[in-house]
């Protein structure tokens, strides 16, 4: 992985080093990833992490009016988010609007600089890099935007939009740019002869393909897709999702897939994280998360999704009704942020922030009363392990269970709710 840390981007880097980013034939990027397992727990063989986000935090200042614009508060958009994305896999990030999922995506692509926390891309912390240091990295992390209408410059032709990254990074000789652009247009299923057209000549689905072609131009290793299909019609959505899946397989791209559509995320991502008000409340593989969610918010979110098949047979699933709206991230509730809308909240929820703890092989949840829907335990599950009593007050006699710490990835041992001990 030397080429990542290598700052010097010589114009003909493509021919020299092993990166081959840009010019290489489709599929070359997969081969260039170093074979040794990258940073992380490293305990699970066969799994490599490309991205590790650790306690990421983004506070936007709120300024007062007047001449001296003092900072009077902070919008806590992202507050201590940790997760991992495996190489070649996809992590889904779901949540309601305002929960911080798009901000997380923009932090990872470093369109924003986080106020705290680490973003380790292939083992290297990129959270505080300067724009100059970031430039070579931009090749490896690219973004697909939600709105295909505003994310393409209407005054540039498709050819110049897709070619821009090639010119900026100087990876292809000028003469070859056009053929590379046409190759990319063909990969995403557009007519390569259309490189001279303007975005307004294309439909929404086709524009999204242009956006994808632009993101693929430099053979990225990680794609942050921020609501890539939510602006599209259903029949076109399926085309774009299939395209993204094909590209993922062909070029071995890892995805951070941000969306609010739970069905789409389940379809695309083997692992899914649920966010609420700047924090991850539950993360698990999709089978566990969608079939046996332990967090009341995940349960409510899933039960709110209208389901064609269910309704076709008659009736609908029982809904966990959530009352009211998401609280303001400027002054979030103390303790658990979901407690103001939670159907099972108790005293401890206002006092102790529930940690995101691993409770299964690939399942983490942040809830004092984590349990399957309708079977939530009466006693807080983590209280003894955290060294507090069931009301959240510190209990002197109880020592916290060792090894019970938050970390971005999944460990081999986890906290077993039944036995209240670490197990595996």
């Amino acid at each position: 992985m030397n080429e990542v840390t290598d700052e010097s981007t010589s114009p003909d880097a493509s021919s020299g080093t092993a990166t081959a980013t840009g010019t290489g034939a489709p599929g070359a990027s997969g081969a260039s990833v170093a074979p040794e397992p990258s940073h992380g727990d490293g305990s699970t063989p066969g799994r490599r992490t490309i991205l590790e986000v650790d306690e990421l935090q983004m506070y936007f200042p709120v300024k007062s009016s007047g001449i001296i614009r003092r900072t009077i508060a902070h919008v806590q958009a992202v507050d201590g988010v940790s997760f991992e994305v495996e190489t070649g896999s996809a992590l889904g990030l779901v949540g309601e609007s305002g929960c911080g999922k798009s901000t997380t995506g923009r932090l990872i692509t470093r369109l924003l600089t986080p106020t705290a926390g680490a973003i380790r891309f292939e083992g290297r912390d990129i959270a505080k890099l300067s724009p100059r240091e970031l430039k070579p990295l931009r090749r490896d992390i690219q973004m697909i935007f939600q709105d295909p209408y505003t994310s393409l410059n209407p005054r540039h032709t498709v050819g110049s939009i897709v070619a821009a990254p090639l010119e900026i990074h100087n990876v292809v000789p000028k003469k070859k740019i056009l053929s590379r652009v046409q190759e990319l247009l063909e990969i995403v299923g557009l007519n390569p002869e259309h490189y001279n057209r303007y975005p307004n000549e294309f439909s929404g689905g086709q524009r999204q393909r242009i956006g994808i072609a632009r993101a693929l131009t430099l053979n990225p290793k990680l794609l942050v897709a921020d609501e890539p299909v939510s602006a599209l019609d259903v029949s076109i959505q399926a085309q774009v999702i299939n395209l993204l899946q094909d590209l993922q397989k062909e070029f071995d791209i890892s995805f951070l897939f941000i969306a609010h559509d739970l069905a789409v995320v389940r379809h695309f991502c083997p692992e899914v994280a649920v966010m609420y008000l700047g924090k991850i409340v539950e993360v698990a593989d999709r089978v566990t998360l969608y079939n046996r969610p332990y967090h009341p918010y995940t349960q409510a979110l899933l039960s709110a999704v209208p389901d064609v098949k269910q309704a076709a047979i008659g009736g609908r699933r029982d809904r966990v009704r959530l009352e009211g709206d998401v609280p303001s991230p400027i002054n979030p509730p103390s303790g658990c942020r979901f407690r103001t809308r939670c159907p099972i909240a108790q005293d401890i929820c206002a006092k102790v922030i529930p940690p995101l703890l691993q409770i299964g092989p690939r399942h983490k949840v942040a809830c004092h009363f984590a349990g399957e829907a309708g079977k939530h335990p009466a006693q807080p599950v983590f209280s003894r392990a955290l060294g507090v009593d069931e009301n959240g007050s510190p209990e002197p006699g109880v020592t916290p269970v060792p090894g019970l710490v938050e970390h971005p990835g999944f460990a081999d041992t986890w906290f077993d709710i039944e036995s209240q001990k670490m197990g595996s």
């Binding site: 309601e96 019609d233 259903v234 299939n242 389940r266 709110a304 064609v308 076709a312």
Partner: protein
């Protein structure tokens, strides 16, 4: 105009949601051969071309289709919102026995909001930012009811409370931007229902909202529909929403109804390849994730020069099952399918049930099983 407007019950201004006295099941709205054409410099855009449906009191019709299929244009035509100078509308829209298309602008204005109301997709842009929410609801009420401002305000607060706005007596003086998205949509519903209209058109009412808020709004709409016994048209591209809300479904494509019938029928035994495509192209929260989605190839046609024959034939994967070149040469009529007269479709295929059961469903499920086995093996 030959028909006289029906007499309205006298108790309307008392604020009692008393319904119209007519029992559930009466036909409220009958749309027949509705055509909405927009002449442009490039030719005539046939946005809606021959649309038929009926809607009974207390029932919900779901209209589904992609953007540009004419869903919103036809609902605007029912509301009389098109500029008559730039639009050619023909056919008939009979609401409570009166053909709305024959009414003058003044007569239509008297009915709009009282007999038929509409809820729009984006409540922020459909509310006036300079007026308080309360003022806008009061205005909607006073246009049709001769009451004092004080009475109207009390009624507005009552309606806001009914749609679940907390502290309605205080929030009534808020401006739209002070409301959250879900609350704005609730306020829109309050405004739409304040005159107890017999027909409520909801144009993508939850598309801009989060799922949990969407669930709240859909529940609210259903509760209110039961209480007010009004007919509802819900326009959406989300089959899940239709499945939960609608009694009848009308699938639209390129300005035409292509399949129409009871909701359960359409979702379990669809007979039109476009409906098959819609159903197999959306993932659901319980299906097999190893299956690839089956998208509808291509793009919706241009309404300036729609394809000949069946408007769906260029994207249809089953057109080879129709003898000859019928799909290309002749447009099918909206006729009863294999499952009785209640379920109509616009398609030449003679045995859609067989094809759906043997080819379309296995394509979705067969791949699923095969992939599942592979995954199991690899473990």
């Amino acid at each position: 105009m030959t028909q006289q407007p029906t007499e309205r019950p006298a108790d309307r201004s008392t604020g009692q949601p008393a319904g119209r006295g007519a029992p559930s099941g009466d036909i409220v709205l009958e749309v027949h051969d509705l055509r909405v054409h927009f002449p442009t410099n490039d030719g005539v855009v046939k946005a809606v071309d021959g649309l038929d449906f009926t809607l009974a009191r207390g029932k919900t019709l779901g209209i589904v289709g992609e953007s540009g299929s004419g869903k919103s244009v036809s609902s605007s035509a029912i509301m009389g919102l098109h500029n008559p100078q730039r639009t050619k509308i023909s056919g008939s829209v009979v609401l409570n026995g009166v053909d709305l298309l024959t009414l003058s602008e003044d007569q239509m204005r008297k009915r709009r909001g009282r007999d038929v109301a509409m809820i729009f997709q984006d409540p922020l842009s459909s509310m006036h930012p300079y007026y308080t929410v309360g003022n806008q609801i009061v205005e909607a009420y006073r246009v049709h009811n001769d009451v004092s401002k004080r009475q109207a305000r009390a009624r507005a607060i009552e309606m806001l409370a009914r749609v679940g706005i907390p502290q309605p007596d205080r929030r009534v003086d808020d401006y739209p931007h002070q409301f959250s998205g879900g609350m704005r949509q609730r306020a829109m519903i309050a405004m739409g229902l304040i005159n107890d209209p017999g027909l409520l058109i909801a144009d993508e009412p939850t598309t801009a909202l989060d799922v949990t808020v969407q669930a709240q709004i859909l529940d609210l709409l259903q509760d209110l529909q039961r209480e007010f016994d009004s007919a509802v048209i819900i326009i959406t591209h989300d089959l899940g929403v239709v499945a939960e809300m609608a009694d009848d479904v009308l699938v639209m494509y390129a300005g035409r109804g292509v399949e129409y019938g009871p909701c359960k029928e359409i979702l379990t035994h669809p007979e039109m390849p476009y409906t098959w495509g819609l159903l197999s192209s959306v993932p659901d929260v319980q299906g097999d994730t190893a299956v690839k989605l089956v998208p509808i190839p291509g793009n919706p046609p241009s309404l300036l020069s729609p394809p000949s024959g069946c408007k769906f034939h260029p994207r249809c994967q089953h057109r080879d099952k129709v003898p000859g070149d019928l799909c290309r040469t002749e447009e099918p009529l909206l006729v009863a399918g294999q499952r009785g007269p209640g379920h109509t479709k616009r398609c030449h295929i003679a045995n859609p049930e067989d094809i759906y059961a043997k080819e379309v469903l296995p394509e979705v499920e067969g791949v699923a099983e095969a992939m599942h086995d592979l995954v199991e093996e690899s473990k």
